[in-house]
Structure formats: structure tokens, C-alpha cells
């Protein structure tokens, strides 16, 4: 049995413009994570604060947040892998607990993207590419994924309608998620008729910038059992990378960092793709979810579109994916996203996902990607 568990997971409401400060956002997530646990703030031995610094006004936010949550004088520090920062935080927390250095560690992710205009946020994202060689051409996150989408369409016959069907599903589940920013159901026509952002991705193929925070509390196994009745065990936890440049990519129809992380995570957990009961994947764009189906082995390469076409990723399907609405509905407050995905799987495995519970879910998976496929993280959790 794995000896590191998640004992609590929470998030703030994700919104376009939260109207509060980052410390207060972090508090909302922290409060929900601690709900029902038999510990207090003083039992937390260390905190790891996760965000993408290019969006932050506050320098060194770890100090600020640990003060506000009264986590001083315990150690606190900052980690970053853009959109997967809080998965990286979880990985570091796991290591701190596994090594015996700490018993209980809090991973807090946040982002307040409303501090910037949409174009300025896009410029910051563009600088998440190689600033000497590729950002000067105007490479953006949606443009990078759009190039993957085009390659996938050309090679496998995936269509814009397939992509739109991912959003139809995710908007369906997002509509009942009280933490989601976007809670309207969208029709296929709504999505196909929305403004073209970067071909073939339209407005509703893209997730929205958002404000939000997440918090995951990790504990040593023996301690975890004293804190909660339902510890969720971390059984697979793998990170991998691909090149920063698009020029360096060897494959344009899938993310190799995700393929590598998935392969190793299944091995670490001793499970296969077909053993996964419920998954959260990084649907920053509709195409990203289809790539994830294939990269995670839920579908063979080129057959991801078939899964959404056959509704196999709905709650009643073969492998339910993003049944909390995904990033497409929740919004994507960069540093908070991984923790929010973890929270959804923890609730599913505890049988507490009231809006869209997958019956009897025992093994769950989180796929969280940083940048345009630079950082791949796959985490497997078990009840």
C-alpha cells in the first residue's frame, strides 16, 4: 500500500473577476480542504505555493500566503511549471512526506488573471514559449495547440465537429458545478458558430482565463488515517517534459510529455488505462482533451475522436472524463488548475461528487499539462 495520502482537497469558486486578493482566494480553497479533517492549521508542517509568476503582481507570494493562513514559522516556498504548477507542488509535497522530512504538507495553487487585460495575458502566455526563437513570431498557447489540432485532423480525419462535441460534454457538466465560471450548456451550433480565434480553434474551443485557488493537503499514511476516514492514496505520480520550442517537437499529433508520464504512472501504480474509473484531463482547448484520450491510452492513436463521438467519456460511458466541466467550463486560473483537478478526483473517489458521481469509482487519474505540452504530469489516485 502506498504510504502517502491526500486527506483534504478544496478550491475557491473560479470566476472571471473575483474582486478579492490572492490571499483571500487561497483562504477559500484552504478552508474547504480542511473541512471535516481532524487537524488544525498548526498541524501543517510545510506549505508549497504554486502559480505562474508572469501573471502575479505580488513577488514571492509564498511568504504572503503563509502569513495570511497562519502557517508561519513553518517552511513555505514556491514552485512553477506554468499550467501544471500545482501538480508539481503535489509531487514535491509527496517527496517531502515520503522522505520523512514532514508529516503533513499543504499545496496551494492560485492565479488572479483579471489583473491583466486579455491581450496582455496572451502576451505573457506567449512568453511561456522560447522568447528568443519563437515568441517574436507571435506564438500563443491557443496557436500552439491549434497546430496540434491541424496535424491531428490532417493525419486522422478528426473534425471541428469532434472538437466541438468535447465542449458540448464539458459545458453539460459545467452547468451543474457550483465552482465553475461558465455554467451554461452550449449546443454544437453555439460552438461551431463562435468566433475563430486561431484556426481551427474557435472561442468556445478555448478555456477562459480565470481567478481562483486550490488546496490539497497531503499526509503520511499512518497520520492520514487519524485525520480522515477516507484517505485517498497517491499510487502513481510522474512528471515528464518535452522541448520548449515547437521546432523541437518530434510528434505533432500527441503530447510526448503526457505519453511518457502516463506510461510511467501506470507502471508505478500497477494499473492499466482500462482500470481507470474516472479521469480529469487538461482540456485547456477542446483538442487537448482528444489528444489526452490517446496519450493516456483511453483510445489508440488517431481514435480519440471516436470516444467523444460515442459519448464514452460521459458519466455513464466507458471512461468518464472531465465530468466536473473541465477547464473549459471551470476556467483556467493557471496555478490553481492542477489542485482543482485533484479535488474533483478526490471527491469522486470518496463518493462525494454530488453533481456527477461516477458510481463505485475506486481509481482516478489526473492529467495536467504545463505550457504547450512542455510539462506533462500524470497522477493516479486510489480509494
Amino acid at each position: 500500500m502506498a504510504d502517502v495520502a491526500i486527506v483534504g482537497a478544496g478550491q475557491s469558486v473560479f470566476s472571471r473577476d473575483c474582486g478579492v486578493s490572492i490571499r483571500e482566494l487561497a483562504f477559500d480553497a484552504f478552508k474547504e480542504a480542511l473541512e471535516g479533517l481532524d487537524i488544525t492549521t498548526s498541524d501543517i508542517d510545510a506549505s508549497i505555493i504554486c502559480s505562474a509568476p508572469e501573471y502575479d503582481k505580488q513577488r514571492s507570494p509564498a511568504g504572503l500566503i503563509s502569513e495570511y493562513l497562519e502557517l508561519t514559522p513553518k517552511p513555505s516556498f514556491y514552485v512553477e511549471t506554468v499550467c501544471s504548477s500545482s501538480s508539481t507542488g503535489l509531487r514535491v509535497a509527496w517527496s517531502l512526506v515520503k522522505s520523512g522530512l514532514h508529516k503533513v504538507v499543504a499545496v496551494i495553487g492560485f492565479q488572479k488573471m483579471s489583473e491583466l487585460s486579455s491581450r496582455d495575458a496572451a502576451e505573457r502566455m506567449g512568453r511561456g514559449a522560447d522568447i528568443i526563437w519563437e515568441s517574436p513570431f507571435g506564438l500563443t498557447m491557443p496557436a500552439g495547440y491549434a497546430m496540434y489540432a491541424r496535424a491531428h485532423m490532417d493525419k486522422y480525419g478528426t473534425t471541428e465537429e469532434h472538437l466541438a462535441k468535447v465542449r458540448v460534454k464539458n459545458s453539460h457538466y459545467g452547468a451543474t458545478n457550483p465552482k465553475a465560471n461558465y455554467r451554461k450548456e452550449l449546443s454544437l451550433e453555439d460552438i461551431l458558430n463562435s468566433d475563430m480565434i486561431t484556426t481551427p480553434l474557435k472561442k468556445f474551443d478555448c478555456c477562459a482565463n480565470a481567478d481562483g485557488a486550490s488546496c490539497v493537503i497531503v499526509a503520511r499514511g499512518d497520520v492520514a488515517k487519524g485525520i480522515t476516514n477516507i484517505p485517498i492514496w497517491v499510487v502513481g505520480l510522474v512528471a515528464a517534459t518535452d522541448t520548449m520550442t515547437m521546432a523541437g517537437r518530434k510528434q505533432l499529433t500527441g503530447l510526448q510529455c503526457a505519453q511518457e508520464a502516463a506510461k510511467q504512472a501506470y507502471k508505478m501504480a500497477g494499473v492499466k488505462p482500462q482500470d481507470i474509473d474516472v479521469a480529469e484531463v487538461h482540456d485547456c482547448f477542446t483538442v487537448s482533451e482528444i489528444l489526452a484520450y490517446e496519450d493516456l491510452g483511453f483510445a489508440k492513436p488517431g481514435e480519440g475522436a471516436g470516444l467523444i463521438e460515442d459519448k464514452e467519456t460521459y458519466v455513464d460511458g466507458k471512461i468518464p472524463v472531465n465530468v466536473d466541466g473541465g477547464l473549459l467550463s471551470k476556467g483556467h486560473p493557471i496555478g490553481a488548475t492542477g489542485g482543482s483537478q485533484i479535488r474533483t478526483i478526490v471527491r469522486q473517489l470518496r463518493g462525494q461528487a454530488t453533481e456527477s458521481q461516477v458510481k463505485g469509482a475506486e481509481i482516478g487519474l489526473v492529467h495536467n499539462i504545463g505550457g504547450i505540452g512542455q510539462y506533462g504530469n500524470v497522477t493516479i489516485l486510489r480509494r
Partner: protein, 137 residues
């Protein structure tokens, strides 16, 4: 001279690999190769992490490549608003070299096809900045 005049917006200037810009001013798009272990690099590297050599040689990317993928960007970030729409593309060239750049405005969107033949060529922009782009090969 560094990268200060490169592309639509340059975010940094200094690099050992800035020799690239000197060649680009002469109309050449260059890659680097390590003479010790033979590995070639695009984007160019001034160092070879494969064998830890700090000596690399420059060579011109010549010949025809193929369009691997592309996207027509309608929404430009800050600093790129006046460029949109622009077409980003990846081109595959000989020797395993892959390049990301823009497609020339001479290529009509309706003519773009995966696998189409491309050449990479230097570009002097009307605003005086320099870059490189893909043209029909």
C-alpha cells in the same frame, strides 16, 4: 548586434547565438552543427550539450521543406495586434531540422495544404525589423 530587431517583438537581446542575426542580415537562415559529434541544431545552439563542446559551426538551411502544420492566428497578443491575421507554421527540412515561422503573406490561405513544398527565407519588414518566413518552394 543581438536579437533586439528580430521578429515583431523581441523580448531579449544578448546571446552567444546572435551571430544568427549577422547571417540573417546577409539573407541567410542558419543552423548550427557540432563538428565533434555531428549533431545539428535548429533553433541554433552556441554550445553542444551532447558532447559538451563549446565549438559549433554555422551552416545555411537550404533546399525545400514540407509544411507539417499551421494555424491562422486571428487574435494577436499585445504587441502583435497589427500583425493579425498571421499564419504560424512548422516546416520540416532536410537533416531532421524543423522550423517554426510564419507563412509569407504571398500564400493565400486557400492554397495552404499539409505537405506543401516550402523554402525558408530571410525577411526585411517594412518597419525595418528583420525576420524569416516560409515561401512556396
Amino acid at each position: 548586434m543581438g536579437f533586439e530587431n528580430f521578429g515583431t517583438v523581441s523580448f531579449t537581446t544578448e546571446a552567444k547565438a546572435a551571430e544568427f542575426i549577422t547571417y540573417l542580415e546577409q539573407g541567410k537562415v542558419m543552423a548550427t552543427r557540432c563538428p565533434k559529434c555531428g549533431v545539428s541544431y535548429f533553433p541554433p545552439k552556441a554550445d553542444c550539450p551532447s558532447c559538451l563542446s563549446g565549438e559549433v559551426e554555422w551552416f545555411e538551411v537550404k533546399g525545400k521543406g514540407k509544411l507539417a502544420t499551421y494555424t491562422i492566428v486571428n487574435y494577436g497578443p499585445s504587441g502583435f495586434e497589427n500583425d493579425a491575421p498571421y499564419i504560424l507554421a512548422l516546416g520540416e527540412f532536410e537533416g531532421g531540422i524543423q522550423i517554426m515561422s510564419r507563412l509569407s503573406k504571398d500564400i493565400a490561405p486557400s492554397d495552404i495544404k499539409a505537405g506543401m513544398s516550402l523554402v525558408v527565407s530571410s525577411l526585411k519588414r517594412p518597419d525595418g525589423r528583420i525576420s524569416y518566413e516560409f515561401k512556396k518552394g
